[in-house]
């Protein structure tokens, strides 16, 4: 059954900003879908609010809308573009829920658009936990005992029937949002409130707990001819009770006999048929009781999911791409297998290797967050590794995390048995390390199994690793056989060095002398049964390598590894752009990365893909393998964020050619002293600062430059470990903590610039000329990390003089450092003084945003410049505009506002104030003709509901901000809001004629007849919170107010600048509502304006 002829245009819905539980895997799937549809000659219309995605690059769709994903916007797009169909199954839960909302509002019927991929009824059956349970029982499967509830009362009743512990699971959510394990009634009350809130249908399932059972997932695909295939089986290392997103997972399943596996497969196929997912992918989770094999169906997601991305990377079977083809009418047997080209896609991939995924957490950024892992996902990213056996894959995955202490430690165990067992019991980030240490200390496999419920097979594998470590330790001499044995179980040179008390360099030298190097195998979907046409490689210590010779000039691009706060999809975006443009320029592009969620690890993105950790050893080996097979021009370290940048010098020391900015120049920007000299030469200033390696030194510096000061360890990204310190006592506390963060590097102490305007600049340099990519003005003042601050491009309040000064300064810094490629500079404007905060000699987080806002591909230009092109040449070629640059604005230019998306909702009890340490996971863009509307769009994209247009505002303002905010509060009143205030704020604004309703302070306690601010928020009476912080810590009112707002998803503004921007937004929204305009339409306007400027 070939392609349907009645579908000529399709609206694809993306997944919006990166949040916990929904990361760049949906960029990967969406990008694949857009590509497929376009190649089929279908007009593609795309909506996604996330500018950092590849899918929103204008060439992937015919009309790309970077607008909030709301029913209102969707209706406007449908009205304007009149698509024949909507494809909602590739944009995660966001897209699925958006499509369901369109259905409920009658919009699908009104405009006669069809949902393809999954029908409304199928989504309903899959996502509604109650309906799903009855489906499972219809087909003869089993689910855990449960009750469906819509209110707290119902929940309490059901709990009596089911008994504790209980699992609370909301409908139509993902990433375990709003779910939890309740051990008693108090827990239950807490979880039910958030659970009902999280579910768009206010529905939760209370379920008997089956913590400790084995957990599995199957990825399925079905076509409309009812052909069904299983793409991948995944087994969780962590048993039930830990969300699969937070579990270490393994593909294929390791501990199932064929009977059990086939039973699971039968049930899965029956479920997908009964639910009626007629085309596309879906994912079904299972639990198995290890004692008797009883199997239970946990849930299904009738869409492409995070696990589908993992399964695609793990098997080489591109689920999203195939799903898109199935949605427009093809059947599986009509689609060729992408990798073999000759066999069809209607088969089940088989693996001759093992894949391990490990989650990456960011608890260190959220002090106070509960670090126990539960049903509610908390990880911010993941790394995947491939090996020829489990131990190899596991150890590679752990080192891919790039986290201190993530790799196994084989030093003598000093902890007590009780402590170790205790740590094995509770799942946390790093439990696997406790398990390994326990086994190393001699605790028996059985005991560790009893404590952790982790399958003995996995535990034995860890024992094997420990045993090998012991052999390495005891061997008189490391010979070829022993070292090969260790390498084939995943030991890194560094680990071996640590065990042998020597250096990584020495082990590497020994290994190379022994001629012991990894071979590279191919991921081919078929365990070598057919020839693979796609060079998708992973390393292993085995007999035969499969790297093909090539006579093209090669460039290796180093990716950015697992997503983490501060280093996410934005860097992948730049890497992908480099691959695209260098391919066009005739190079053979080679990608190295270990993040399964990304577009860069799609084997279609580059000419060759190495799915490898980004450590020195692993990268050097890829370089070696590629040098053996052809002419390597160089390695790009500038685009993948701090991870590859940090490798630059060491790679160079090992004779690896680095293209673009040299490692020496990188050092000039990264090392404070050296950078200071660059600034001095350029006559620029930075905030007064000093470098301290002890508390005494820090104290001296701080008292010289005056408090408050900003302290941080050197060489960090995302403001890691950065704090504003107000006095000596705080300083002492900080130093005590900080010296543990990074003992090799000293602590920097800066004068903290109060009330300064922060500015971000991205610029290209070719050695002679500069091309200014864009200037962004932050909404929040300096002190809020640039990654967390909203910003506007073009700047809204900078004068032409400032802009000129910024241009000149940027040029001086870039040439002073010797940048070839991209550079990002952050400035702070305090009064009339322009300070340089830092310069990053690499592509920055803002590159995609700037590129989308200006229509200029900075990352592509950067890649070309690194390989020798000049800005002038690129202007002639058309990759850069003929004249002017990204900082030039025209009357026709849009205003683009970026807003950060924060994960506080995931970390119950963590204060939601912003500071110099970055906390956001993602971003959205609002683009429009006025700042107000663009800002309002950004808010609407970032927070469900967006800015309120009417209702009740609660204001509670710190004394120092009161004066500056009175006018703004008055404006709120004028716009029609009812003002509620805390006592101090109420009486202060009263003096200026603003009446308000006073709410009782929370810390005074709750009394009959008077509501506290926190109660009002929790009751849902407040539509907007304005709270500027005074004092931090969980006891303050501010903290309670913000936490309540986060829990209830009420927008919470914490700065005067933020409120000012919000007012602009509310005002323009009240006047005119949103209009939609595609990036292609904007580009046309900007380009014709640019043309006019020439003539």
């Amino acid at each position: 059954m070939p392609k349907r002829r009645d579908i000529n245009s399709v609206l694809v819905i993306g997944s919006g900003p990166i949040v916990i539980g929904q990361a760049c895997e949906f960029d990967y799937s969406g990008t694949q879908a857009c590509r497929v549809l376009k190649a089929e000659g279908i007009r593609v219309i795309l909506l996604n609010s996330n500018p950092a995605t590849i899918m929103t690059d204008p060439e992937f769709a015919d009309a790309t809308y970077v607008e909030p994903i709301t029913t209102d916007i969707l209706e406007k797009i449908i009205q304007k573009e009149k698509p024949d169909a909507i494809l909602p199954t590739l944009g995660g839960q966001t897209a699925l829920n958006a499509a369901m909302a369109l259905h409920k509002e009658g919009i699908l019927d009104k405009y006669k658009v069809e949902l393809i991929g999954a029908k409304v009824e199928a989504i309903e059956r899959g996502e509604n936990r109650e309906k799903f349970k009855s489906i499972v029982s219809n087909i003869g499967g089993k689910s855990a005992k449960s009750e469906i509830c819509h209110s707290l009362e119902e929940c309490l009743d059901s709990a009596l029937k089911l008994g504790y512990p209980l699992v609370v699971r909301p409908s139509f959510t993902m990433g375990g949002a709003g779910s939890g394990i309740a051990y008693d009634e108090e827990d239950l009350i807490k979880f039910v409130a958030t659970g009902l809130q999280a579910s768009p249908t206010s529905e939760v399932l209370l379920e008997e707990s089956i913590i400790g059972w084995k957990e599995f997932e199957l990825e399925l695909m079905r076509d409309h001819h009812d052909n069904v295939v299983i793409i991948c089986s995944i087994e969780n290392f962590d048993p039930m009770g830990v969300h699969t997103g937070d579990s270490i997972t393994v593909a294929p399943a390791m501990t199932l006999t064929d009977r059990e596996y086939q039973h699971m497969r039968d049930i899965a196929i029956a479920v997908i048929r009964e639910v009626g997912v007629d085309t596309g992918g879906c994912n079904i989770q299972f639990a198995i009781n290890p004692v008797d094999g009883r199997m239970i169906v946990i849930e299904m997601n009738p869409r492409v999911s995070r696990s589908s991305a993992l399964a695609s990377k793990a098997t080489g079977f591109p689920i999203a791409k195939i799903a898109a083809k199935l949605a427009i009418g093809y059947t599986l047997d009509e689609i060729p297998n992408d990798i073999t080209k000759e066999t069809p896609a209607s088969f089940e991939p088989t693996l001759d290797y093992v894949v391990v995924k490990v989650p990456r957490f960011a608890f260190e950024k959220f002090p106070g967050a509960d670090t126990k892992l539960t049903t509610h996902m908390k990880s911010v990213g993941e790394a995947m590794a491939i090996g020829r056996n489990f131990s190899e894959a596991l150890q590679k995955a752990l080192r891919s995390l790039e986290k201190k202490d993530a790799q196994f430690d084989f030093s003598k165990v000093t902890e007590s048995k009780e402590d170790l067992i205790e740590k094995c019991k509770y799942p946390t980030d790093g439990r696997i390390n406790s398990v390994q240490r326990s086994l190393l200390s001699g605790i028996s496999l059985q005991e560790v199994h009893e404590a952790s419920a982790i399958d003995p097979w996995f535990l034995d594998q860890i024992m094997l690793i420990n045993e090998i470590a012991n052999e390495i330790k005891l061997a008189n001499k490391l010979d070829f056989d022993l070292l090969k044995y260790a390498k084939s179980h995943g030991f890194s040179d560094l680990q071996v060095a640590q065990i042998r008390n020597t250096t990584e360099d020495e082990i590497r030298e020994l290994r190379i002398n022994l001629n012991l190097r990894p071979v590279y195998k191919t991921v081919d979907t078929c365990a070598a049964e057919f020839e693979a046409k796609t060079p998708y490689h992973y390393s292993s210590y085995d007999r035969e390598t499969e790297v093909a010779k090539s006579n093209k000039n090669k460039v290796i691009i180093l990716g950015s590894g697992p997503n983490r706060i501060g280093q996410g999809i934005e860097f992948d975006y730049s890497c992908v752009h480099a691959a695209q443009t260098l391919k066009l320029a005739g190079f053979e592009t080679i990608m190295v990365n270990c993040n399964p969620e990304t577009v860069s690890t799609d084997y279609d993105t580059s000419d060759r893909l190495y799915f490898e950790p980004l450590t020195l050893e692993d990268v050097l080996e890829v370089v070696h393998a590629e040098k053996q097979s052809g002419n390597l021009i160089g390695v790009i370290v500038q685009l993948g964020g701090q991870t590859p940048l940090g490798l630059a010098q060491k790679l160079k020391d090992n004779f690896v050619p680095i293209v673009g900015t040299s490692p020496e120049a990188i050092h000039l920007a990264e090392e404070r002293g050296a950078f200071g000299e660059v600034l001095e030469k350029a006559n620029l200033i930075s905030p007064e600062h000093g470098m301290a390696s002890s508390f005494i030194e820090a104290k001296e510096i701080a008292s010289r430059i005056g408090y408050p000061v900003l302290v941080r360890p050197s060489y960090v990204l995302g403001g890691r470990g950065m704090e504003i310190v107000y006095d000596e006592e705080m300083l002492l506390k900080y130093i005590e903590k900080a010296t543990q963060i990074n003992p090799e590097h000293p602590v920097l102490v800066d004068r903290f610039l109060d009330d300064a305007l922060e500015i971000d600049v991205d610029a290209l340099f070719d050695g002679k000329e500069m091309f200014l990519g864009g200037i962004m003005e932050h909404i929040e003042e300096a002190g809020v990390h640039s990654g967390d601050s909203a910003c506007s491009l073009p700047p809204i309040s900078l004068s032409a003089k400032h802009i000129e000064q910024i241009r000149e300064s940027t040029y001086a810094i870039g040439t002073g450092i010797g940048v070839i490629g991209l550079m990002n500079v952050q400035y702070a404007l305090a009064g009339e003084t322009l300070y340089v905060l830092e310069a990053n000699p690499r592509a920055s987080r803002t590159v995609p945003f700037v590129s989308k806002a200006t229509g200029i591909s900075l990352a592509k230009a950067c890649a070309r410049i690194m390989l020798g092109a000049t800005i002038k040449e690129l202007r002639n070629e058309g990759l850069l505009p003929k004249n002017k640059d990204g900082a030039t604005t025209f009357k026709e230019s849009p205003i683009a506002v970026k807003e950060a998306v924060l994960p506080f909702g995931r970390f119950r009890g963590v204060d939601s104030i912003l500071g110099p340490e970055m906390k956001s996971t993602g971003e959205v863009m609002g683009i429009d003709t006025s700042f107000g509307t663009a800002f309002a769009k950004a808010q609407s994209g970032a927070y469900s509901g967006g800015l309120p247009l009417k209702g009740n505002v609660f204001v509670s303002i710190a004394d120092r901000d009161k004066e500056s905010m009175v006018e703004l509060i008055k404006k709120l009143k004028d716009l029609g809001f009812n003002i509620y205030a805390s006592s101090g704020t109420a009486s202060y604004i009263k003096k200026f004629g603003i009446d308000s309703k006073q709410l009782r302070k929370h810390h005074l306690g709750e009394v009959e007849g008077e509501t506290t601010s926190v109660q009002a928020i929790r009751n849902g009476d407040i539509d907007l919170v304005v709270n500027t912080p005074y004092g931090v810590g969980p006891r303050t009112d501010g903290y309670q107010i913000r936490t309540a707002a986060t829990d209830m998803s009420v927008p919470c503004i914490t700065t005067a600048q933020g409120l000012k921007a919000a007012l602009a937004g509310i005002e323009s929204l009240q006047k005119s509502g949103f209009r939609v305009k595609s990036l292609q339409e904007w580009a046309k306007d900007i380009n014709s304006a640019r043309e006019k400027m020439v003539s």
């Binding site: 001819h225 501990t255 086939q262 094999g293 059947t331 088989t350 693996l351 020829r388 070598a528």
Partner: protein, 372 residues
């Protein structure tokens, strides 16, 4: 890390060094790879693997041990076993003993620590070939010795092996539940999975030795006859082929699996031929040409029937069509006689190991027997 060494030697002279696994000694057979990720117990006990050294492409083997329920026949049939990473422990609630213990108990010479992917690629390109595993005392033997021994071992082409795997005397298997039919199953190396699938449909079985003749079979007053899977070259099975011709002549409902498909093919006049490396795995896409639906199936065959796919063939027994093909390479995977009550498939609808997609074929058989 003290391992006892072992060698895998191929007839083209390639040598793979590994560690001794299972029993020690020397063993010979045709080197073939199978790509299934689950079901090693079923694979090892499948009589169709008789005289073959089986290579598992899945690296971890033995994880779930050996249990008492999943054997496909009375013993392990493979002549040797090649794996990469055998499990050190067994983890499954049904497990009774470890795989290595079982291999030792049944004296199966095996080898581990092999780059099974490199080996598979080699066999894929060069074709399945004779091979030997050597372990134990190796010191005083050299390359020439190993190769000579391998070259002395018999070829698969022309091998008549059913006699060795068939039951020595007839036995009866009761129908599961109400008995609806009685079927004679010619045991060419039959798998337990097939017995279960048939008896689950109310079929009482008389399992008969391969040498049984038509009259002996008909004594049991059967409603249908089943031709099982089995090892070896179908060209050698002349007795079974003649028997099948007779069955067709009498138009007794007939169903064949695997070897049975090749016998039916030859009985109606088609040729059989040896595939380069065969089909062995549990992920093979087969299309039922009558419904155009794809099923994921278990394969284990080194030979195949040569028949035109795009048109019916006129034969001595009327019209015969190719009912199923493998979508990977268009190999014939099933035959259906239009004018007789007979059909067969080259693959394994009983799965074990493998997916159950083709289970419906057993229903087709009962339907055929119901048609009066």
């Amino acid at each position: 890390m003290t391992f006892s060494p072992a060698l895998l030697v191929l007839e083209d002279g390639s040598i793979y060094r590994g560690r001794s696994y299972g029993a020690k000694g020397e063993t010979f057979g045709e080197a073939v790879f199978t790509t299934g990720m689950t079901g090693y117990q079923e694979t090892l006990t499948d009589p169709s693997y008789y005289k073959q050294i089986v290579i598992q492409t899945a690296p971890h083997i033995g994880n779930t041990g050996i249990n008492d329920e999943d054997d496909e026949s009375r013993k392990i049939w493979v002549s040797g076993y090649v794996v990469r990473d055998p499990s050190r422990i067994s983890s499954n609630w049904r497990s009774k003993r470890s795989l290595e213990e079982e291999l030792k108990r049944q004296n199966i010479v095996s080898i581990s620590g092999i780059d099974t992917r490199a080996l598979t690629r080699h066999l894929r390109d060069k074709g399945a070939m004779r091979s030997g595993i050597f372990s134990g005392e190796l010191d005083n033997k050299n390359q020439d010795y190993f190769l000579k021994k391998v070259l002395e071992s018999p070829q698969m082409k022309g091998a008549d092996l059913c006699g060795a795997v068939t039951t020595s005397k007839a036995f009866n298997v009761k129908a599961n539940g109400v008995k609806k039919f009685k079927v004679a199953a010619l045991d060419l190396g039959i798998k337990n999975g097939i017995l279960q699938r048939l008896t689950n449909r109310g079929i009482e079985l008389e399992v008969l030795p391969v040498t049984s003749n038509f009259d002996e079979i008909m004594k049991y007053e059967v409603d249908g006859i089943f031709l099982s899977n089995g090892p070896g070259d179908p060209a050698t099975a002349s007795h079974a082929i003649d028997l099948t011709k007779r069955i067709l002549k009498e138009n007794i409902p007939l169903f064949g699996i695997c070897f049975g498909n090749q016998i039916l093919g030859r009985a109606v006049g088609f040729e059989t031929y040896k595939l380069t490396f065969g089909h062995r795995g549990i992920n093979q896409p087969v299309m039922d040409l009558t419904t155009k639906k794809v099923e994921i199936t278990t394969h284990n065959h080194g030979f195949a029937v040569k028949a035109p796919i795009d048109k019916e063939s006129e034969t001595e027994f009327g019209r015969v069509m190719v009912s199923h093909i493998c979508l990977n390479d268009n190999v014939v995977e099933g035959l259906a006689l239009k004018d007789k009550k007979a059909f067969s498939v080259q693959y394994h609808p009983e799965a074990a190991a493998g997916p159950h997609d083709a289970d419906y074929l057993f229903d087709r058989f009962t339907e055929l027997m119901s048609k009066k």
